[in-house]
């Protein structure tokens, strides 16, 4: 598969790894923002290929992990209603709320459907005019244009029985929250490649300047990640703090104009609560006034939500890169994909789940210089 599989070439990877090793002179802590990048790093063992001076910590770029419990409970309450067809990306099906999860609700008779595209959910609504079709719209900026398109289509075609429960989160406020935390160790970021394909890289200039951190917008294949790490390390060694674009075949500085217009047409920025981190101002999207008729939050009265908080876990620390999954005493014992204690074990690409799935039961042999 062109433009995909060649970025897994072992010889090119080895060349990059050697060059990284030749470049580092001191320890550095890097964070990859995006959950998909975390997944690839663990799956291909990329962090194990790096010299001991380079430490990768995993960021909060997993929209499934950070979706607020209230949103999930609201989704479940809506899905459980008769006459509702609840559509969702597959990622959210097993995420436990306070009482249940979408897959279990389906097993008990709720009409829950997995869709790959939000537009497919609109199609379901058109085919089922006598039902309410509600779509759970989660994601970072990458998914926003598609979710916006679904709402635009629904309004344009008069699909009145379609609505969306929106829970978008934005990357730059999360980066700011991480760097501003008093115990922050992160010195540079691998920026989110597909988020930037949509919104461009300009937003990150201010972050790099304000916090003096290099940000290299990076792709998702092993070669992309290694090249991004090399570019970050070169900046750190040279004392620079700029935004660079490793993923130039996909990311343009101004992003995708049509996608940004679509987002602006339907969404507006709002405060959001991040599971495991807390409330961050101006860190999400909500559906604007013009599309309120398709906003499930307004259409469905589910005020009797009582979220059940359980015992504390380290998800917050993992999401902020302060701890690794295997630092947690509960990892692999009390906390497993079967019995997740936290958000990062629940999602397929949460750091804890990735570590568990790819067999990282114990601390790796590579010595930590820090």
């Amino acid at each position: 598969m062109k433009y995909l599989e060649e970025y897994r070439d072992p010889e090119v990877a080895a060349g990059l790894t050697r060059e990284i090793a030749r470049t580092v002179t001191r320890p550095w802590v890097l964070m990859e923002v995006c959950g998909g990048q975390t997944h690839a790093i663990v799956r291909y063992g990329i962090d194990q290929m790096l010299p001991p001076e380079v430490e990768l910590v995993h960021g909060p770029g997993c929209p499934v992990c950070v979706t607020a419990l209230e949103t999930i409970d609201r989704a479940h309450a809506i899905a459980a209603r008769p006459n509702v067809i609840f559509a969702s990306f597959g990622d959210m099906l097993r995420v436990p709320g306070s009482h249940s999860d979408l897959l279990s609700l389906r097993g008990r008779g709720a009409d829950v459907r997995i869709v790959y595209s939000p537009l497919d959910a609109v199609a379901i609504a058109r085919s089922n005019p006598d039902k309410q079709v509600v779509f759970l719209g989660i994601g970072f900026e990458t998914t926003a244009p598609a979710n916006a398109m679904a709402l635009v289509q629904a309004k344009r075609l008069g699909v009145r029985n379609f609505s969306m429960l929106l829970s978008h989160v934005l990357v730059p406020p999360a980066i700011a929250a991480i760097v501003e935390a008093p115990d922050n160790r992160v010195q540079a970021f691998l920026g989110p490649g597909h988020v930037c394909a949509v919104v461009g890289t300009r937003e990150y200039d201010a972050l790099a300047a304000r916090y003096r951190v290099p940000i290299v917008v990076t792709g998702f294949e092993p070669i992309d990640l290694l090249e991004g790490i090399l570019m970050v390390v070169r900046q750190l060694e040279a004392g620079r703090a700029e935004v660079e674009n490793q993923y130039a075949r996909t990311v343009a500085r101004d992003g995708n104009r049509a996608a940004k217009d679509l987002i602006a047409q339907v969404f507006e920025v709002t405060d959001r609560k991040w599971r495991g981190i807390g409330a961050i101002a101006d860190s999400g999207y909500r559906i604007n006034e013009e599309y309120r008729a398709h906003d499930a939050e307004h259409l469905f009265d589910v005020d009797d939500i009582r979220t059940a908080e359980s015992s504390a876990c380290m998800s917050g620390l993992v999401l902020r890169g302060l701890k690794k999954p295997c630092d947690c005493p509960a990892f692999g014992t009390a906390c497993t994909p079967r019995t997740p204690l936290g958000a990062t074990m629940v999602s397929a690409e949460g750091a804890c789940a990735a570590y568990f799935q790819y067999g990282r039961r114990a601390k790796q042999e590579k010595t930590d210089v820090l």
């Binding site: 063992g45 990329i46 990622d91 099906l93 279990s104 079967r338 019995t339 790819y358």
Partner: protein, 357 residues
């Protein structure tokens, strides 16, 4: 399950994820992965302890008479949704699947039973199609269905059709296939490309459009297994990687036998259509079910002959050598990634779902 509360700075709040119920059967218990394993080990095995059962092979091989022949006996239930999918249906699956369990024990299949649990309201047309498929599959394999049963449950109490097939076969003297025989140095052979069945079912069930490129690989493997044994009589074990995928077969053998398994991910064949579907929907072919493939554990000295025999058979033409067994006592499956790195392969927690993240 106890949990010691951990101190988390109040700035960031308590982790809000509640623990799911662990005292009831979950759908994931049926997916063939970690939960299924745990259910069997913790609840089923302790109740029915006996030597044949504890081998946990795909079939039980029991002594029969004085001639050294043994009976192989197996049972399997089929609850697949949807009933009909590209490449086959539940009827064909039920016949082939049980024949395959016998074949994995080196048995010549002798006869099958076929039991239906039908849901009230099931259209006769669908039942006819399923029966015809089962008939065709059994006739094609030369294995008669000699007994059966039919029950009906009320509407809403059964998912259209559940099928149980049991099978008996005869294992020739001198043939001993069992995971308990797998030994360090064994070469691991895979009879063909993986993921076709699992990807097809997932796409059909969840309505993931893929331009009709996928089809189930359901097939009866008894002739292929016989060919392998003819060429390599010293073969130690065969398994068919059904639900839970290739990963499950490898991990189960490695962990039960406390042996290491080394697999080169690059050598595992995957059809382009499955590869594309997996990239698109975030799936791992190693975790997807197969209904017409087998994995053979063959002593190194006979590996070449076994592979040649596989490739000479229509159902094994894409056969490949994918790894070997080591004496590493940790009981882990190590995968060499396309990058040349290594990672541990583990049981999937539950059936894979498409993802967008």
């Amino acid at each position: 399950m106890s949990s010691s509360p951990m101190e988390v700075p109040s700035l960031f709040g308590a982790c809000p994820a509640p623990r799911p119920e662990t005292e009831r059967v979950l759908l994931a218990h049926g997916s063939g992965g970690l939960l299924t394993s745990q259910l069997i080990e913790e609840m089923v095995l302790p109740a029915f302890r006996n030597p044949a059962l504890e081998l946990l092979d795909d079939q039980a091989v029991l002594p029969f008479g004085a001639g050294g022949e043994r009976i192989a006996f197996t049972t399997d239930s089929y609850v697949v949704t949807p009933l009909f999918f590209p490449g086959g249906d539940i009827g064909e699956l039920a016949v082939n699947g049980t024949i395959n369990d016998l074949a994995m024990g080196g048995a010549r299949p002798v006869a099958l039973s076929l039991a239906f649990i039908l849901e009230e309201g099931l259209p006769f047309e669908e039942l006819r199609r399923v029966i015809e498929s089962a008939r065709r599959a059994a006739a094609g394999a030369g294995v008669p269905i000699v007994t059966g049963d039919t029950k009906v449950v009320g509407r809403g109490n059964g998912d259209k059709i559940f099928i149980n097939t049991s099978g008996i076969g005869l294992v020739p003297a001198g043939v001993h296939l069992s995971s308990s025989r797998v030994a360090p140095g064994d070469v691991i052979l895979l009879s063909g490309a993986i993921g076709d069945h699992g990807a097809t079912i997932l796409a059909e069930r969840e309505g993931l459009a893929l331009g009709g490129a996928l089809a189930s690989d359901t097939a009866a493997l008894h002739e292929l297994s016989a060919e392998i044994l003819r060429a390599a009589p010293g073969t130690h074990a065969m398994r068919d990687p059904t639900r839970g995928g290739l990963a499950t077969v490898l991990v189960e053998i490695a962990s039960r036998r406390k042996l290491g398994v080394d697999v080169d991910e690059r050598s595992v064949p995957v059809h382009d259509a499955v590869r594309g579907a997996c990239e698109l929907y975030g799936l791992d072919p190693l975790l997807l079910a197969n209904e017409g493939k087998l994995v053979a554990f063959v002593p190194a000295a006979e590996a070449d002959q076994a592979l040649a025999a596989m490739r000479a058979h229509p159902l094994g033409c894409e056969a490949a050598r994918i790894g070997y067994v080591t004496g590493d006592g940790a009981g882990l499956v190590t995968l060499r990634t396309p990058l040349g790195g290594r990672r541990i392969l583990d049981l999937p927690y539950a059936e894979p779902l498409p993802r967008i993240c």
